[in-house]
Symmetry: C2
Subunit: 168 residues, 2 copies
């Protein structure tokens, strides 16, 4: 559950994978979107409890876009007002995307998930820039350092890795 | 897993409740603290999976203190460099504290957990200011609005509540 930086919006993900977006001032729901996160063709992809509390949405720093994991291998970036996609679906992960994060300068989007990888994307074009390989478990936490030169990833392999972005 | 605002520190909580604090520049661990979060006198308090991925630590905006749930009913606020408590343990929750958040002006600390309540504390003195009652389930997510006038709480009761802080 997160506020946009301008305080106008509040986004959350419920246990069943539904992304909800509220107008935080007028206290009404703007839109909601059922992400087929938990089930694929009737098959449970991940224990429900493993998803609980995970921050699977991220506002862009300008508070205009929201990124979230969507389905089995993708990330959607939508307009916060309408919920409509503003980029083609970001594809490549070989599994469920559990965490997304924008860099504070708005240039990059990072993602991670059940395929043990961390991926860096151009936030404006959706182009994949790099795939960070090294974790041996689900990667369920991501954070850019305040200067955006480092990306930290936390995994169920019980390690945290720091990835230098200087040369990207 | 979070960076401090000044980028010097990285904090995380592992699955067993251990809080770890790293120097994010020099890449070494400063300290770790085993919080007796999961077990009390040998008894499992909460399913392990229910805790996974929850942001149970928060840096103060000045990057000098770290707050985390500690044990069955408390919150500890420590010096990030040393891991030593800078306030007496904040007590009152009738259950495990699952989420903590500082207001961006550093004045307030909010907490929530398995007792279904949201609590507001004076971040400098540790004094309890208010108890917000209304959720009918575990409260596992908290966020201050950017202007610190609203506190949002997300619960396993499938609701999000907005608490006005104007009169505090």
């Amino acid at each position: 559950m997160k506020f946009s930086r301008d305080g106008r919006y509040l986004a959350s993900v419920s246990e069943d994978g539904t992304v909800m977006l509220w107008d935080a001032k007028r206290l009404h729901e703007l839109w909601s979107k059922n992400a087929p996160l938990l089930r694929q063709q009737g098959r449970l992809l991940l224990p429900k409890t493993a998803l609980r509390g995970l921050p699977r949405v991220a506002f862009s720093p300008d508070s205009k876009r929201l990124a979230s994991g969507d389905g089995f291998d993708g990330i959607v970036v939508v307009d916060v007002e309408t919920g409509n996609a503003v980029l083609p679906k970001l594809k490549g992960h070989g599994g469920i995307v559990l965490s997304v994060a924008f860099s504070s300068d708005g240039r990059f989007l990072a993602s991670s998930g059940t395929d043990h990888t961390v991926r860096l994307w151009d936030a404006r074009t959706g182009k994949n820039i790099h795939i960070f390989v090294g974790h041996s478990g689900i990667v369920n936490a991501l954070a850019f350092s305040p200067d955006n030169r480092t990306l930290a990833s936390g995994s169920l392999d019980r390690t945290i890795k720091l990835w230098r972005l200087d040369r990207e």
